[in-house]
Subunit: 458 residues, 2 copies
Amino acid sequence: MQTLTPRHFALIITLLLVSQAEAQKPDSVIRAIFSEALNDTTAYHHLRYITKNTKGRIPGSKEALLAVEYTRQALTDAGADTVWLQEVTVPHWERGEEKAAIISETFGRRELTIAALGLSAGTSTEGLTAGVVEVHSFDELARLGKETIEGKIVFFNRPVDKTVINTFAGYGGAVNQRTQGPSEASRYGAAAVIVRSVTHALNDFPHAGVTRYAEDVKPIPAAVVSTIDAGILSEALKADPGLTIQLLLTCRNFPDTVSYNVIGEISGSEKPGEFITVGGHLDAWDNSEGAHDDAGGCVQSIEVIRLFSKLGIRPRRSVRAVMFMNEEMTGTGGRAYAAHAMERGEVHYAAIESDRGVMAPRGFAFDASGERLLKLQSLAEWFEPYNIRDFDQGGGGSDIAPLKQLGALQIGYIPDIQRYFWYHHSANDTFEQVNIRELQGGSASMASLIYLLDIYGY
Amino acid sequence: MQTLTPRHFALIITLLLVSQAEAQKPDSVIRAIFSEALNDTTAYHHLRYITKNTKGRIPGSKEALLAVEYTRQALTDAGADTVWLQEVTVPHWERGEEKAAIISETFGRRELTIAALGLSAGTSTEGLTAGVVEVHSFDELARLGKETIEGKIVFFNRPVDKTVINTFAGYGGAVNQRTQGPSEASRYGAAAVIVRSVTHALNDFPHAGVTRYAEDVKPIPAAVVSTIDAGILSEALKADPGLTIQLLLTCRNFPDTVSYNVIGEISGSEKPGEFITVGGHLDAWDNSEGAHDDAGGCVQSIEVIRLFSKLGIRPRRSVRAVMFMNEEMTGTGGRAYAAHAMERGEVHYAAIESDRGVMAPRGFAFDASGERLLKLQSLAEWFEPYNIRDFDQGGGGSDIAPLKQLGALQIGYIPDIQRYFWYHHSANDTFEQVNIRELQGGSASMASLIYLLDIYGY
């Protein structure tokens, strides 16, 4: 009988690996990923904790630091090989009190449901009272000019166009009133700004969000008003153009402070220095539990790590789940992550962002074209049994965008987005609005896509 | 100058019609349908009325008759040319009191959250107390046999398989415990039956539904228990197999009574005797507002009439919106509608049913094959701008199934069904769980499909 030489062992190991690869066909791996995700409740418990126990987690808050600590532990429990925090400089803004009321000689007084815009300047502690000019665009604002605007409260009231099927595009058609409106109004000497909530919903919730002052303007106080109250204010102005609004915002900006991205990594078996990132953002508006935006995207990313670890899927490239800090205000988390990657000379193959809510999965958007897009779209065949069919050209998201300069393929996770803006940036974005099966369909989709990208390397 | 003759007028009219047809290209008509549907709130107000003001509308109830009257008026207001009621014989069953509790020498007493099954026999007014046998299939029931089952309460506890992506298929794999379980258990002398709620959710709601007794068995009392309490009961049985359950159901069956299908019709311009039906069912479980199941399908069908009428779309064939009565118990509404159609010699070209909830639209299921299916699938191109892509082979629904014998093409409206069974047949199926945009995406989809089918005649 012949003795077994090292060469024989090598052959046996090769045969074993081949048969293992045979057993681990993509369809069976993906089936295992979906089954585990749909039966497991870990992600749902994480979502409950983050939404209920770290509510108020705007960048620079102690609640955000609680969320950092919680998700660091969650990534460890999920089976990440390495978990660490990455320092991020963030703004520190506090909301304070916020009150507004219509004062009319015709109607008397009526309170309005408002929320200060993130990073907004406050009023004095006595508040301010001024007449109101309703406008619908920056062109209209310019036409009215300083003589009409000066000393007034500008009320931006252009609604979201509900006939636009892509709700993000509809939102995009109205959101400049919130992001740039206060700055534009300030150029004409406005005293303050009130913006119609940028949402498809007709409801009583103010939908918060950031505003950005140009460097050459005086920051003036700015708030959103609920869409119902925007309608009431508009009607009131028609009946009594001379009405005034009493506005009190005690929000304040403090010096920048430190917070963290939270990163969990499974090391690649063949190319440990090449990365696939999947992430959401950990910060959320302080008036909201931030369940869909974006605790959901964070727990889905943690779940990708858990699914790989639980099912023993060892990727060739390293896979990182990242909880980005400060997406909502100034985007420093995404930039810090890319800057560190660049410093270390990391190779970033692809990045997936989940920041469009965690409704039922529809597919992915790829920032690619030509043959590469076609190859990526061919991956849809593996998702057919899961009724996930939308493999389209499109963008990734703001947190992963800075990785583009490192060549990372940008991918957006796409759930069904029709009802997203009913929740977005409001107190209506609660844990209860998330369905565990829809959430986990997303986790499984992203884990499966990462698995396939890692195999095929498109 | 030549005088205009009738032939000249005919030519002019033809030219006008051609240019109108040119102006009314399918894509512009469909765009108008979606825009009107997404901006309008009529359907949402109807949904609110039906869910909040006619709750309890099981077949044979006065609440069902209220819903009949309300939707009759709504169809008239929507612009139907003709609106009428069609008599339907329906069961009359009343729920009465329902209580169950575990009695254990080890644990003491614990109430269970239950709901009597529709058409179930009641217990005596004193209730009954019996030992419990947990089973997971009819095979297991047969193996245990009369010696184990006789005089006992059979507890059917097979859960829905959450790994099945099509939630209706998952439901279908467990629902025979509710529909046939009581009948099967009765064959072995069981005293009563308790069934685990047939839902993907782990929650405190009992999810109701009908049971059907075979003619040769004694009807025994039967109820569903919430999935949380099913888990508790199962654990309790492991620890104390000798526990008993006290069960009181005062539900009663009364003689059949009369209710109605509600029908609204727009007459066809070219083939008024040929019909396209779109419908949902008006009855709902009495423990539920029945928003997704199926007030939503009804208001979508009314909305199809409103959209055609408001936009001046005059179909070649007659279009009927039908609110079917008694889908939930014995399906007599659907059969009555088909029987009347047959008596009158009507030609039924196609029928669409919306009874899978009113979540975001995904597409349609067609009961067709071969070349006809391919033609129907080619209509998907018109829906691409609305991200409605699922044009698959599949069934219509139980209310339109009897029309198949008249040759009607069976079509099911398919929303995203991932979270449907969280609501189904329970107190969780409320108005608040319906998003107006998702609802109206369905109304617009069905109106558009009817418009296209009427043009192309596939």
